[in-house]
Symmetry: C2
């Protein structure tokens, strides 16, 4: 009998867990769900009495090994940094693994052993990464099957707040792991632009965002998301002239966030020397040049060396409370990024009835029969509340459906797998439609209109 073990059952796991409980109940599969606390799932046991719920400290290896004992598939919904430990457990116990997170270097290194043992370690199977890969590769393969030559690829995704629930100047609230938002873009990002490699250091990535218009004319801005270039080989796009993967925000966000980066407030590399009773204003001022900041806006401009920086962006920074006399809680001891995250978690809290919004767009440029065109594929999905977010749905369902798909039709590829194979992406994308996760598609002609000279 197939047995699945799920590690982590936090609030954002709802869609995954609902789907997987129904699946295992229907198929008669064994399902174990483990977390610090699982009592909120007991209600499912009435209909599905064999559902095993385990309260376990999943940061301890012996507890994890106990949970995954006998499982064919282990799904890790734990924080991304724990996936490698879980992967090692899976190698010990001979389990397949599924996560929605990026393949880390350490994970990559475990791939060879997984492959040798005939195990699949499925990763990057959520929204971004996940649905982005699946929908992109499907477009690319379908266009090529029709004889098209792909010449450019741009793809953008954002986890935002639905416009009618925007009630702060950043037009942003946390619909997913706040830590990832605080550290977004850290390190270097890369892209290919009209044939030129572009290397974008962290402190430039938010400085000049690209403007993006969706089919409904809603406007967004994008910063480059990690190492776009590495997806050229993954997507089989070695010959394109443009390769960009970006993350979307509402207009105005990036220029304001750029200030926090420039001041050093998103640095996660050292423990800030926080003193007892320090205020947020004192914390902020420690990053500013000189003393006696009577004009805080001017001090910020002087410090970042951009004397004309728009007031609107600086106002967003001050709105966070960074200029207030409130005391920085000492239990947020840690990096500047950790202190900033603690502050923003209060300010950017998704309220009970807020709807989040997931937006994704691929722009695939191609030539076919001498014409240059662009295939534009867009996803626009609104959530239904603080728990039933579009984010939780688009991260959880692809993962759950992919695990079902791989159990029904095990992939020949073992070791590290991401969902760029037809055997995974076709059934997953198809089934997602029944949950309302569906792209709208259109093709735009980019060829110059031929202007015929009319003889007088």
């Amino acid at each position: 009998m197939i047995s699945i073990a799920v590690l982590g059952a936090g609030r954002s796991a709802g869609y995954f867990i609902d789907y997987t409980i129904n699946l295992c109940k229907d198929r008669g599969w064994r399902l174990t769900i483990a977390d610090m606390q699982t009592s909120h799932l007991e209600k499912y046991q009435a209909d599905f009495p064999s559902l095993a719920l385990m309260n376990a400290s999943l940061n301890e290896q012996n507890e994890r090994l106990r949970v995954i004992e006998g499982a064919d598939w282990v799904v890790s919904l734990l924080p991304a940094f724990m996936h490698v430990d879980v992967a090692k457990d899976c190698l010990i116990k001979g389990c397949n693994l599924a996560t929605a997170s990026y393949v880390s270097e350490e994970m990559q290194e475990l791939g060879a052993e997984a492959e040798k043992k005939g195990l699949i370690f499925l990763n990057e199977c959520g929204l971004d990464p996940g649905i982005d890969h699946m929908s992109a590769v499907k477009i690319i393969n379908d266009l090529r099957a029709n004889g098209a030559e792909i010449i450019g690829y741009k793809s953008y995704c954002g986890g935002l707040i639905a416009p009618q629930f925007n009630d702060n100047p950043w037009k942003y609230k946390f619909s997913w792991n706040p830590r990832n938002v605080i550290l977004a873009g850290n390190g270097v990002s890369t892209a290919l632009l009209d044939g030129e490699i572009k290397v974008i250091p962290y402190h430039h990535n938010f400085q000049r965002p690209e403007e993006i218009l969706m089919p409904d004319d809603s406007a967004y801005e994008a910063y480059i998301n990690r190492d776009s270039l590495s997806y050229q080989s993954i997507y089989d796009l070695e010959d394109v002239k443009t390769m960009v993967r970006g993350t979307l925000r509402y207009p105005g966000y990036c220029r304001a966030w750029n200030i926090l980066i420039h001041l050093g407030l998103t640095d996660n590399s050292y423990k800030y020397p926080l003193s007892e009773g320090m205020t947020y204003k004192e914390f902020l001022c420690s990053f500013l040049l000189g003393n006696n900041h009577t004009d805080i806006i001017d001090s910020i401009r002087q410090t970042i060396g951009m004397p004309d920086y728009e007031q609107d962006a600086i106002d967003k920074v001050l709105w966070t409370g960074l200029n207030s006399n409130e005391i920085v809680p000492t239990d947020t001891q840690g990096s500047p990024a950790a202190i900033l995250q603690n502050l923003l978690e209060k300010k950017w809290l998704l309220k009970e009835d807020d709807h989040d919004l997931v937006v994704m767009q691929h722009q695939v440029k191609f030539t076919l029969e001498g014409e240059t065109k662009m295939f534009v594929s867009s996803l626009h999905l609104e959530g239904e509340g603080r728990v039933s977010t579009a984010m939780s749905k688009t991260v959880g369902l692809p993962l759950a459906i992919a695990v079902k798909t791989l159990i029904d039709n095990p992939s020949k590829k073992k070791g590290i797998v991401i969902p760029i194979y037809k055997g995974i992406y076709e059934p997953v994308l198809e089934e997602l439609k029944s949950f309302g996760v569906e792209f709208s598609e259109k093709v735009i002609s980019l060829s110059e209109p031929v202007t015929e000279s009319k003889p007088e």
Copy 2:
């Protein structure tokens, strides 16, 4: 019989090696010097036949263990990243250790075991760190012995080129490890300024250097050197209002280097995607926004977001050849920082007859009998050529003299030691004078002159 083993005998080791050979010869101590190649030292064996020279691959542990076998003291002149390996060897073989480098976290962790074994691991005993610690703590202790209260401490040091040998617009040449110069200031730096903690992110550290005037009215500029705050407890300066440790350059350097930092060219965290036949211009342009950089100066200004950035600083950047059509050598594959280092090593080469310059200044503010004064202590030492540099002298001699001192009078403090103890700094500073390494000192009154109101 005392036995000393020296690991590394590169050109910059000259002063250390000369001193130590004479010392061991006079005292009848055993001396072993090991490096890839030691034939240039054979000339000393005529006078000192027991001098042992070993050609060894010092990156291999078994070779190092063979060299240090039986040594009471091991001196590592190897690159700083190798000191921890050498320290582990010393724990195995029961040897004391001396280096001129900063105590790394890993070195710190080995301290407890060294202490347990009764071994001294002397570090930070060169110029900066080294002479700076010794001279600072001497001033502080002497002032306090006279009843003074220390209220502020600033200290600056630079390894530069003597003014008459300045022949490039940066007024800089490498007189020591180029890698340290390229990566200087990486990470966060801290200082205390009029009672306020200052946290300086990398991309601000060179943006607004402090201007420094030496007693001879020569002008320099300074950026903050690492974590100044941590030296408050080391120097016993917990109550000062100002605590700054800075690195000196000639005026104009920092604003130009700031551009390289902002563009991302000093990033050492990833392998740059260098392609065969890529020119420096293409390399540079990959860090610039957009394509078609017909006006490179404007492109740089736009990219760093500072449209008024002074042309003079940008000209320095272009002088390096970063805008040339020369091919980037593929054997410099590595990080942007490694590519930049390779380029600058050619441009900033110290010529055979060039004299380098070591400059150091402490500014210690204190109150005594109601008056506020500043003790200013300055070192200004010119080198004698490409081999006999002031840098090599001021790094090598303190280390050599300190080892002699600790052999003659073993310190009671075991484990990690830096030269802030009277038993070390007094004899070392005293003996350095005989080599021309001597500070000039003066005291400046800072108290407001009392203006008496004269009755009309």
